[in-house]
Symmetry: D2
Subunit: 342 residues, 4 copies
């Protein structure tokens, strides 16, 4: 059930409703909107009886929630969620571009790439310190050392950091060092990790699982939100199909569908979504045109020597040209693409 507080409800009234929900043994999720606050309820094993709430001061409506998902849905929150990362707003009017190497390799390279993508107009910096690799014998990332390099690169470039957590331990470290905690496709149904991400104090970039349906994708976000972290950025990164001309099939149709039923922002990852350098720029344009709130792009200055995923990385000057293309494209779909304020 969703409890809608009137436009003139006081904070005390909202709090009283939340308290009542807790007294019943459930968890309240107050979500302030532009004109009024909704309160979602989770933790209830079945439908909730309306009686205890219907006469409480400030309550104007009680909406039974019928969807599989609650907190992620537009039923729960009509307006778009804008996730704030430092100066950067994800899901607002402006597009957001995250860029950087697949993996953190050395401090010199990380800083060099960070400055280049910042100069080209990127708003956030990506780079993996903990790498989920298909083979145990592939480079697994620099770990804590990588996080420290990322922090250094943030200091130098001024860009907030997005990096992946792959388990409980790395999540604690990533939360400490990074600005956005990424949960990767391979952990998209690692529910323990999702719950822990839901207790973190930093925004979550949540990738769609390799064969996740729309419901599974949104329910992964629901796992995070049900623990109290409402700052979730969804990310389409390609799904697994029979098609063999790409590494994955980037499913852009999920963007308008997510926008229709959820208030969460969604970006795309054309680098993993295609696995081929020559496709990254067209699919980035395509992602923006379909309505995504941004893109996350792999950039490397020597992709032939990259420790992972070199074939899909753009060179810095290719990335700069991509930014120019997106800058032309943004106003056509009534979005902005601001220069980053460092």
């Amino acid at each position: 059930m969703l409890i809608v507080m009137g436009a003139h409800a006081t904070p005390e009234q909202t709090e009283a409703v939340c308290k009542k929900i807790e007294e019943l043994g459930f968890k309240p999720h107050p979500m302030p909107g532009a004109s009024r606050t909704s309160i979602g309820i989770t933790g209830n094993p079945g439908p909730i009886v309306p009686e205890p709430f219907e006469n409480m001061p400030g309550v104007v409506e009680l909406i039974p929630v019928t969807r599989l998902y609650k907190l992620v849905s537009r039923e729960f929150k009509g307006e778009n969620t804008v996730v704030q990362v430092g100066n950067v707003s994800v899901g607002g009017k402006d597009l957001v571009v995250v860029a950087g190497p697949c993996a953190v390799e050395t401090e010199e390279r990380m800083i060099r790439i960070a400055e280049k993508v910042r100069d080209a107009g990127a708003h956030m910096l990506r780079g993996g310190a903990f790498k989920p690799r298909t083979s145990p014998y592939s480079f697994q990332g620099l770990g804590l050392e990588g996080l420290k390099i990322l922090a250094k690169a943030r200091e130098v470039s001024g860009l907030p950091i997005v990096t992946e957590a792959i388990d409980a331990e790395s999540l604690d470290l990533v939360e400490e060092y990074a600005d956005v905690i990424q949960i990767g496709a391979r952990n998209a149904q690692n529910f323990s990790l999702l719950k822990k991400a839901g207790r973190a104090k930093k925004p979550i970039l949540l990738k769609r699982g390799m064969s996740a349906t729309l419901d599974e994708f949104l329910l992964a976000a629901e796992y995070v939100m049900s623990e109290g972290n409402y700052n979730v950025i969804l990310c389409e990164r390609g799904v697994r199909t029979f098609a063999d001309h790409t590494r994955n099939t980037l499913d852009l149709s999920i963007v308008p569908e997510v926008k229709r039923i959820s208030h969460l922002p969604i970006i795309t990852d054309p680098s993993h979504g295609t696995g081929k350098r020559h496709m990254v720029t067209p699919l980035s344009r395509s992602s923006v045109a379909v309505g995504a709130d941004g893109v996350i792009i792999e950039v490397h200055d020597e992709p032939e020597h990259a420790l992972s995923d070199g074939p899909q990385a753009l060179l810095p000057d290719q990335f700069a040209r991509l930014m120019e293309e997106l800058r032309l494209l943004a106003p056509v779909i009534r979005r902005g693409l601001p220069l980053v304020a460092v």
Copy 2:
């Protein structure tokens, strides 16, 4: 093998090479380019020995063809193929929009929709007279009567007609009445029909099969071209995957890949590619942004009463707004979107 004639080779020299190819029992495919003509060879069971050709006048190069496909490849023809349909050029600088109902229903409706899509800026008119339906008990199309209605709609609207042929008989009729012969996804590996389309005198709009790989898609075009019809327009219409939020998964990544290895134009079908009205406009923008040469869109003025595929049809005014969006988008990717010259 590909035989390249020099920039100054005479038509007689080219013809002599073609004759020699025929004498050997093979089929020559001369393909004039901007600066020089290439001659492809098909019908050879194995590699061709270069000797008979290497000293013929006008021949400047003999290129062994290693790819699976020959005539569709950029090895064979470096420049983009532009398919001419009346005044409309498909694959040139300008984008092309094909619009109309899924099926031809009545003359009145067809003409009404034709005029509306033309007024909104469509360049060609679509409408099925022969409908390949999953169930034998679904509406199978008006057949010849439908083709006559389409011809009438062309007369009234001035728009060239695209309509589907589903077998040898209907192909003859469609060739007689229409301007472009569509081969649908369900016949994408109906090789007899593809060969017959290759002997038709009208351009072919060839849809990707429901689970066609890139190779299978291009080899379907190769079937058509190997019979002598080089006017093939490819069309991505969504493929079958596990994803259940759309009818098919529109695989936009195939557009840049086709552009890289083939000279043929490619458009997309966001109506069948998604099956949902609210996705057609965003996926159309997305298709144009990824580099497609155009889109084919279902438009119906009473979709709730359409005899097939109503849920994916745009209303005429939704289509008009889509055209406005594409008109803004085209220059950003350095394409034009001309008003149709009727």
Copy 3:
């Protein structure tokens, strides 16, 4: 609607009902069962009013049909359909094994293989005269010449012939020369060909399309049956998925589902279903164990020189061992595997 005639209804009463159906402009499909005859109706645009039938002599029940499919369903015919091919019964108590090369190559080879598979216990002989090939430059089959070789091989071996028709012309020829007309996966939604197969006088072996859902598979059979040919043998031949360790993914779960909702026999094709020789025997056992009515197996005596699909063909002695394994397996699942009566 399904009209059920009583156990004591006379042929004249059944005929009178069929006539009434025709008078209404529809098509009657009388289907005699062990104890009583059902009459299906097709050609009706919507639900049929029961009045004209409910008081006709012999009629005992009028059952509204709600399924997507009519004639293929167990609602229409409760007992298993047994398709008779000469002495061979497909879909009865006994398992049926069809074997032979992918393509007919030479008369000598065809006869040699025919005798070997017959001696090992095969009940029918397969071999393609018309080959649907992905590339126009691959071997397309011997055509009519191949059919004549097959007829010769039947004469010598005594085995009935199964071979594929790929279009209207080849279907006429195949109907003339063969005992069972195969419709391949690539033509599984070539509805014109399916309708024509429905007017043929020989049984149809209908392969599942490469990405056909259960509904699409059964509706393809419905197309055949709706034209009056009720002798349809279904064949699971693997579907297209992301899995790359096989050519296709053999979907054995469709066998019990087909058995549950349809009365038609179903066999499997472990050769195309896997594309790998070493998997053919285990997947054949597996097919029989899951409840299939038989298997169709590619056998070649020099697979390394086969004109198509060599890597998936069993050698004759491998096939003989497979037959021994199936002979042990059959009684366990209460089926027979008879020696062919030549």
Copy 4:
């Protein structure tokens, strides 16, 4: 590289080689076979130079390993691995049947089902205490309480326990209480969990990921083995495809392929693999016929009230009939199906 010790090599010689490997900073994996011991090496960033080993006493061969996977491959270990769970051998001559409810619900029910499946001939007992559920609002399992119930059921029934671990914490608990630790499909690329499972002292039942390729499946096992736990039982549980007549598509072809390239045992899960009760028995027969080492089956005595996955659970008497069918089938494929020795 793989170091093969001669048939007469002493344990000390083998140990010396392992030490040398450790001195180089790598990890040795000695794997005793029937006639000789192989030593795998992991932890090396690139190819290993053979010099330090080629003259060591007892070493008879140095084999460069070219496959993606090392420890799971038959190159590394030619003979089948037999995983011992109490009295039960998985991967040996005899088939193994694991049965029980999807989730542990109450002690009474668990014990009741345990006794029934044991009486019918099951060799191990399954039941989830930690349930990975798509929705955060679905029943998540009884946790530690569930493990205690399972231990009680083992005590009463004498059957070893298989149950799933979903994160680091639950893995420690499962290792303490259960006999086999299951890693589920959703965690098939949770590499941290796989590594931790590799340090556990109990055998691992590793399910194939929902869209895992063969390589990904085997590399998940490689993750476990590379940490030193060689007791891995693979489990095919169906993959995600477009097919909609089952919950997943059980890919039985992976069984012979795994057997060809790996020495690990593999069983199948027809309950999750189909999601439909009426398919479980035929697909179980089919799994055994294709060469699987056993099956894991969901059994519930009141499936209509099950807290999860009721529609795919067999009733105890259906399970008993399944066991009878497998008992008839086993000898045909030269396997045994022993009565459990409790």
